[in-house]
Amino acid sequence: MILTTRGLTKAYAGVKANTDVDFDLPAGQTRAIIGPNGAGKSTFVGMICGRIPATRGTVTFDGQDVTALPAHKRIERGMAYTFQITSVFPGLPVRENVALAARRGLGRNKAAVRAKTDEVLSRLNISDRADQMAGDLSYGHQRILEIGMGLAQEPRLFILDEPTQGLAESEVEEFNTLIKTLDAETTILLIEHNMNVVMEVAEYITVLDQGMVLANGTPQEIRANTAVQEAYLGSGHA
């Protein structure tokens, strides 16, 4: 298991966003977390990567308890996180955005940083925009850049919070392809609303509902699960 949580709970002013979530993620898997709006998905991954302090419970990453570590220490150990809302450095060129992500791990080795940056840019087909300001990119390209910043960190656990939100059909296709190629390289934890994407890329799915784990299973099992259908029916996954 690369990631394990036990009893992970978050309460905001007494209201529980997550209650006692036990979660196991084997290394190398591509896992999707789905659930209706307000199911506590973002809070859950927020607690995993350290953006949101847990009220109680533990997070174990790569065999070590990281519950007490601040976000940047967890990232240092090999997590990467992309934001639900596009979050790039708008006033910096695209290349520098990626380089900032690469540099944290590679340090002062300029050649290595440059090579990694170039590799990521060409992998995402945005080399031709390397010198544009990130803030001037279209929404879709900002999302792709955001994923590129995650890639440049060479994470062992790549957490993507609704990466396809607001992408056009064609861009979603490209995203699916990209995730599939990443599959072999790293463990992926994906929060996703778009069921097409989930069914296509996820090997295994965890369903959250009202802050708790409702079901775990392969895409086929989840599709057939009546409890899941009930949770969705009427609470929409549009």
């Binding site: 953006r51 601040p70 940047h72 990232i75 979050s87 790039v88 450095f89 910096l92 900032l100």
Partner: protein
């Protein structure tokens, strides 16, 4: 020419021009220019924090006067020679900025501005409180005899000018290098999107603390240089006004540009100089400029040139 080449050209060109100016300009103006270079060091130190890291401090007079008194008091009371005293000024600024930085970085936004203002005010009052040693608002002069380095008399206009130029150049080139180095890039990243920088694994608080310290030490260096070259230290330099001035210079010149602080300091120096001739209320010029820049020139002079014409400007 590459952007790096142009940047070097700009910086060395400016330094060359300033060296030349001493021989071309009348004594009055070269005297002014020496002052401008010293206060531009202060402005550059401020700019590192405000322009590049995005932290708006209203208390930098504290760091400036830490350097000013660090040098001034050791020379005045303990008869230290200029070089060790200068080091004392830098160390004083280092200690003050490390302690204050540790505290102020717990706050953000408006609270950050007010806390920096409060600490600087407490510093000013402390200088007044120890008036026995500091002579308060009246201040004290450093003897011309003590202001000598290796036989050069620092009160001589020529020596003073080139001493200021050397320190100005070192600061300009040093900060310009730092901005282009990974550390500086990280500062800009924090300014642009702090949460993203944190989630790329950067220890944002530690990096910001480094920025406060570098900014504080450079400001302190300016204070120490001022006391050394002009032979005077007084509590006026610790007042709120002297925290506002670097903000003003950087805003006018262009925050987050390498030469903006110098341009802003030069512009405001001559504007105030001109206004002082007309009225006692020369601070009115400061007020009007602050309001006008906020309203109409949010990028400052150099920043506006950069957005409109020369994208490569550092």
């Amino acid at each position: 020419m590459s952007d790096t080449g142009k940047t070097h050209g700009l910086h060395f060109g400016l330094i060359g021009l300033l060296a030349l100016a001493y021989f071309v300009l009348p004594a009055y103006h070269s005297g002014n220019l020496a002052s401008v270079m010293v206060i531009a060091i202060y402005a550059m130190g401020y700019n590192l924090l405000f322009g590049y890291t995005g932290l708006l401090s209203l208390g930098h007079a504290l760091f400036f006067s830490a350097g000013l008194y660090g040098l001034g008091l050791t020379m005045h009371l303990a008869d230290w020679t200029p070089l060790p005293a200068f080091a004392a000024g830098l160390i004083a600024a280092l200690v003050v900025s490390a302690v204050i930085g540790f505290l102020i970085l717990r706050t953000t936004g408006v609270a950050f501005m007010i806390v920096t203002l409060m600490f600087a005010q407490a510093g000013y009052l402390t200088i007044l409180y120890f008036g026995k040693y500091t002579r308060g608002d009246e201040g004290f002069a450093l003897q011309q005899a003590s202001r000598q380095i290796a036989g050069y008399d620092l009160s001589d206009p020529g020596v003073r000018y080139f001493c200021a130029l050397v320190l100005f150049s070192v600061t300009l080139l040093g900060l310009a290098y730092m901005i282009r180095a990974p550390f500086g890039r990280t500062l800009v990243a924090i300014r642009e999107n702090e949460e993203r920088a944190r989630m790329l694994g950067y220890n944002v608080t530690a990096i910001k603390l480094k920025a406060v310290i570098v900014s504080g030490v450079v400001s302190g260096a300016s204070g120490a240089t001022y006391a050394l070259l002009f032979g005077y230290a007084g509590a006026t330099f610790a007042t709120v006004q002297y925290s506002i001035f670097p903000l003003l210079w950087v805003l006018v010149g262009g925050a987050g540009t390498t030469v903006g602080p110098f341009v802003g300091a030069l512009f405001m120096f001559y504007l105030i100089d001109y206004a002082s001739g007309k009225t006692e209320a020369y601070l009115l010029v400061v007020g009007v400029t602050l309001v006008l820049v906020t309203l109409f020139l949010p990028h400052g002079i150099v920043g506006t040139i950069r957005t409109r014409f020369l994208r490569w400007l550092p």
